[in-house]
Amino acid sequence: MSQFLQVFLSGLATGAVYALVAIGFTLVWQAAQTVNFAQGEFVMVPAFFVLIGMHWLGLSFWVALLFGFAVSIVVLGLLFKKLIVEPILPHGGITLIIATMALGILLKESAKEFYGAEAQPFPAMFPGDQIDVFGAAVSLRDLLNLVISLGIVILLTLFLNRTRTGRCMQATAQNPGVAEILGVDVKRMVLYTFLINAALAALASFLITPVYLAKFSNGETLGLIAFIAAIVGGFNQIRGALVGGLLIGVLDNLTATYVTAQYRAALPLVLLIVIILVRPQGIMGTSEGRAV
């Protein structure tokens, strides 16, 4: 039982970080009706911004984290929206999807060229001490990762549902034309969405990179798992992305411990196939009709 609890909590912690990235997919989908296939690289890059802050600018770790966070918001939020999404979106969602694939490759190869192909150690924000939770030895880092990730999701949900700006963002996602005519500054709401996505990606990066180390290829796995988590949970629902992320994190850990570690990478794909066959809108998602 204690081993189960340990594996379960550890899975929840990893899954909560997946959820942060998956929520980014959901937000961008709602704001721009497109899928950002560079999302995994958006999680890989902020860790390198922090390392640049530490190694090149001589900043302390915590200051470098703030530096990395700020640069991520500007580069992955503001510049991504202004330089890629705005000019390309009028040419269609598919064009933008292809552009984000190209951006992902660019970011990955740039990180490799700039920082090398070797994995770089990345300091953890929290100590890795084990603590006792109902008889199970659980990493304090895992627990704090879980608490912080869930806290961020709760704050984001409160922001979207309990503030005027959040409601305007929801209105923009549901019907941008009408929102604009009612006086909502739709362009600004879309920008907020991209800034939040960048912030979520940066936070996920800071939480998960101490485990994976900073490596140019980290985005491949993270992006794929988060994309699947968003689909499994329901691509048009933030709570769906949360459920999908947690589910994949927990199932991945349980499968690796109790069934086989050999095919753990296949588990999200199996889950994806099952969901698409059984409930294509995802666990929490709702069907969307489109006018043609």
Binding site: R164, R167, Q174, N175, E180, L182, G183, V184
Partner: protein, 248 residues
């Protein structure tokens, strides 16, 4: 007569070789309910979109309350006091009726800080409830807008257009697809709102009974130009209009 709420001067709009609107000019004064009618392709919707800034006219000028609206975005037009309803359904389907109506009014209140951290209803719940009651939607207050019938959503759409207290409301085929019972109720509410608030309406509509009974003045367009203008009775009796649009 008072200064016009809406002033249209020599509006021209072409699409390729087709002149959709040809030098249309008219004024609409405070409290007027102006109907814009005409056969399909007569330029009504193009003119509507030019007024709202969704299409840039090739020539001419649109002024609201004496101010040129050239180049204004829809959100800026809204802040200037221009509301509109849509031909298609235009509510936020995953929000409640109350939230839809609050959202329609909230952008006119508060500072940037209050938008970020202030009360989500911007203190408008009471006003929104009065608007809901005015359109007799109180029993649907907490329902998701997307779950309502077509006619009910049209009423919500109208309530949203009026929530910001506009001086001018453009109604784009408000009767389209609405059943007769709901339509009568809708028309009665629009007339009541006009009488109570003195709000100016411009209505595009194909339903002649609806437009003749709601509007105080009617402009008839055909092939992009004004062919007649007058009271509903004058329009009914106008031979040019009968030949071009109303038929025998």
């Amino acid at each position: 007569m008072s200064d016009p709420v809406l002033s249209i001067r020599n509006i021209e709009k072409s699409f390729g070789g087709i002149r959709a609107v040809r030098g249309v000019s008219f004024d609409v004064h405070k409290g007027e309910v102006l109907g814009l009618i005409g056969p399909n392709g007569s330029g009504k919707s193009t003119l509507f979109n030019c007024i709202l800034g969704q299409l840039a006219p090739d020539a001419g000028e649109v002024s609201v309350n004496g101010r040129s609206v050239a180049g204004m975005r829809a959100s800026q037009m809204n802040r200037l006091g221009v509301g509109r309803t849509f031909q298609q359904l235009s509510v936020f389907p995953k929000m409640s009726v109350l939230d839809n109506i609050i959202l329609a009014g909230q952008e006119h209140h508060g500072t940037m800080l209050s938008r970020l951290f202030g009360a989500p209803d911007a203190g408008l719940t009471g006003e929104a409830e009065r608007m809901i009651a005015f359109f007799r939607l109180t029993h649907l207050r907490d329902e998701l807008a997307g779950s309502l019938s077509y006619g009910q959503q049209k009423l919500v759409d109208a309530a949203m257009a009026f929530m910001a207290g506009p001086s001018l409301v453009l109604l784009d085929e408000p009767a389209g697809g609405v059943n007769l019972t709901m339509l009568s109720h809708f028309k009665e509410r629009l007339s009541a709102y006009n009488a109570e608030h003195g709000t100016t309406f411009v209505v595009i509509e194909h339903n002649m009974e609806f437009v003749m009974s709601l509007c105080t003045r009617i402009i008839v367009l055909a092939e992009g130009a004004v062919i007649a203008e007058g009271s509903p009775d004058e329009i009914r009796a106008n031979q040019t209009v009968i030949d071009a649009y109303l038929g025998g």
